[in-house]
Symmetry: C2
Subunit: 315 residues, 2 copies
Amino acid sequence: MSHVLALSGGVGGAKLAAGLAAVLAPEDLTIVVNTGDDFEHLGLTVCPDIDSVTYALAGLNDTERGWGVKDETWQAMAMLRDLGAPDWFNLGDRDLGMHLARSARLRAGESLSEATEALTRSLGIAPRVVPMSDAPVRTQIETEAGWLEFQHYFVREQCRPVARAIRFAGGGLAEPSPAFAETLARPDLGAVIVCPSNPFLSVDPILALAGVGEALQARDVPVVAVSPIVGGTAIKGPLAKLMGELGQPVSNAAIAAHYGALIDHLVIDSSDRAEAEGLRAAGLSVTITHTVMCDAEDRERLARVALSAARTETG
Amino acid sequence: MSHVLALSGGVGGAKLAAGLAAVLAPEDLTIVVNTGDDFEHLGLTVCPDIDSVTYALAGLNDTERGWGVKDETWQAMAMLRDLGAPDWFNLGDRDLGMHLARSARLRAGESLSEATEALTRSLGIAPRVVPMSDAPVRTQIETEAGWLEFQHYFVREQCRPVARAIRFAGGGLAEPSPAFAETLARPDLGAVIVCPSNPFLSVDPILALAGVGEALQARDVPVVAVSPIVGGTAIKGPLAKLMGELGQPVSNAAIAAHYGALIDHLVIDSSDRAEAEGLRAAGLSVTITHTVMCDAEDRERLARVALSAARTETG
């Protein structure tokens, strides 16, 4: 079996990553995760997307709330609030254990790759979960009030400010992490799956790293993106609002145009089948399927569809 | 009313401190707390004695378990354990909120005094709770295996190693905190109450600070110690074992000899009344009363007894 590289952001991407992990042998999958949303909070290094992928792969994710750890409690948060400490970022008690363990490892000199490998292995996660880079890259959003750090925009301001532009501070100079670079260069790399994460906020930071776009273009490996659009809008998160503010229609055509020559194949939701003809006319292969993932069966089915789409591109 | 200075360690001292806080006007009481047990753990600055006093004064202490916060949970700890992180020091979820809030303030440049004042005020604590020093002082125990940091001895090793000696690294050079120094110099200082904490581990670090012993001796202010001995042994903690290892009998006479000329008056438990005559013969004033504090009534009564003992010394 050839190797599969998955590029993932947080929650939506994490679901497909979990599906891929369920249907592939661990040694056949590398999941590269966006770290543009990472930030320092109360002295902790918080990596929301790595955590979403980690919790999803370990079966620890809260499927009701849609983010964070299941059976979570909020006692530390309540105390922080009583003490007048910043409480705009939700820190669950179990989640705090993760942030503390990671931060201790980073402080002891481990790279984010090393810390992530140790932590995911501790939870019994078999495939390789890899930060996109060991260097800090910070997604920032330009608003009326100036440039906002991602979590300030996303969590503190609840995505309310109108976005004018997005940048990835440090992105162009940051190298991909060693395992990411190694995977990009693997002779047996057979497919790249772009998970249904926000292209602008979660996938672009990965593509903006030094040499990554070029490396993907240079490889004769099919790149299959699963669209985050469902029924002409985003299933969750700020994608639809953001696309509007950036002057783009909320459509698969806009997603395809955004990825451009990078992708060979777009998997779109059945509710958006009317778009398929136009996408194909623009030279893109298209698979139409149900892309909403509510349970393990959905995740694994969509993973198989994406892998099968990659095979049609190779064949 | 003249001002009262209380010197306190953790749990036992915190109980009497809470009693004093209940019977005195807030402006008449300064509680100076041992920081020799403080340590850095998982990137957090943990101050066990300040926290014990804070939780006791805020009514947040767990009276069943005898330490920590009531209604505590241990979810972060469970996650840390799953992640292979150090788990020998108990970090409750609510307690973690305190450590995070304090550490964030220290990282932002506040002194431990400033952080402690802000945090205790947030919890509605009216009297001044003051770290003994803003400079790091670290209590260390010499054992067969060499010098152990206090929490390694106390929590990780559960006080099992035989103690040969105790030292307060940094103690002799560290200045008392500004509010402690100011209180020592107050013209209206009317009494010093040494709470029933471990003299060797919890009170000595306070007395070892630069100039503190001299300042106390120089003031014509009664110093009343409440003995931690009950029925010829220590009510809890490593005191009895430690005194034996240091070649001392576990008695009020040994406690009195240890404090020496520093104290004018010793409050001892009714179960140790047989010792009173010998103590008095050695020139010390003695009050005999029930010193075990199980509830608020006990704490307030003992506080009144100690304050009354101070008044007899003044009169």
